[in-house]
Symmetry: C2
Subunit: 121 residues, 2 copies
């Protein structure tokens, strides 16, 4: 399954809320029902359900259709896509500095040689 | 510098837009002015400036005060914080499955021993 730019935007937008991140944190430890998720927050079930809809639309969680309580489960694929995007650009940035280091090293080399030549005389 | 929950929310919200991600991608390759950033997009300088303000507020870029053109630079600290958040919860999730595997292995062990005892007789 490929992640589109639109998927990535939905994932990052879903992660941009502290309550939704806390819900994902809870689900990382194990599946939970809406009731169980609402408990630690001073939020109504309705407010939690709204957050769950955002997370589900972003592909970050899935909900069982089987049980009456419809427990929520973390889906890691989209988290991986988001982390991949960040690390890819992080790497580009580092490579840029590696190239700069190489360039500076190349510039320094003749100077160093020049210095040692002078020392030799 | 510690990243607060509010910082993390701003970072993820800033990453939730394809144009802002494209700007970061461009800056990962090297610093750029607003003019240079606006060029590849069918966007006005004003629209780009708006995106840059969101990125700056989220700590994802910084802008030079020295030059007239105020070139933009990628700041990697917040990207790292965002990636850290994801990988930490990814790990919790994996550990949960490791524990489940261990539990299942422990349950299986007596049965396997039982089978090999039978084979021995």
């Amino acid at each position: 399954m490929t992640t589109t730019a639109e998927d990535l935007s939905l994932t990052f937008a879903a992660l941009a809320d502290p309550t939704r991140r806390a819900i994902l944190q809870r689900l990382a430890l194990g599946d939970a029902t809406v009731n169980e998720l609402a408990e630690p927050f001073a939020l109504t079930q309705q407010a939690i359900s709204k957050h769950l809809k955002v997370l589900e639309r972003a592909g970050l969680i899935s909900r069982s259709r089987a049980a009456q309580s419809r427990p929520c489960q973390l889906e890691t694929g989209r988290l991986d896509s988001a982390a991949d995007w960040i690390s890819r650009h992080r790497r580009l940035w580092e490579e840029r500095y590696d190239r700069l280091d190489e360039h500076l090293a190349a510039l320094r080399r003749p100077v160093e040689r020049g210095t040692s030549d002078e020392e030799g005389t």
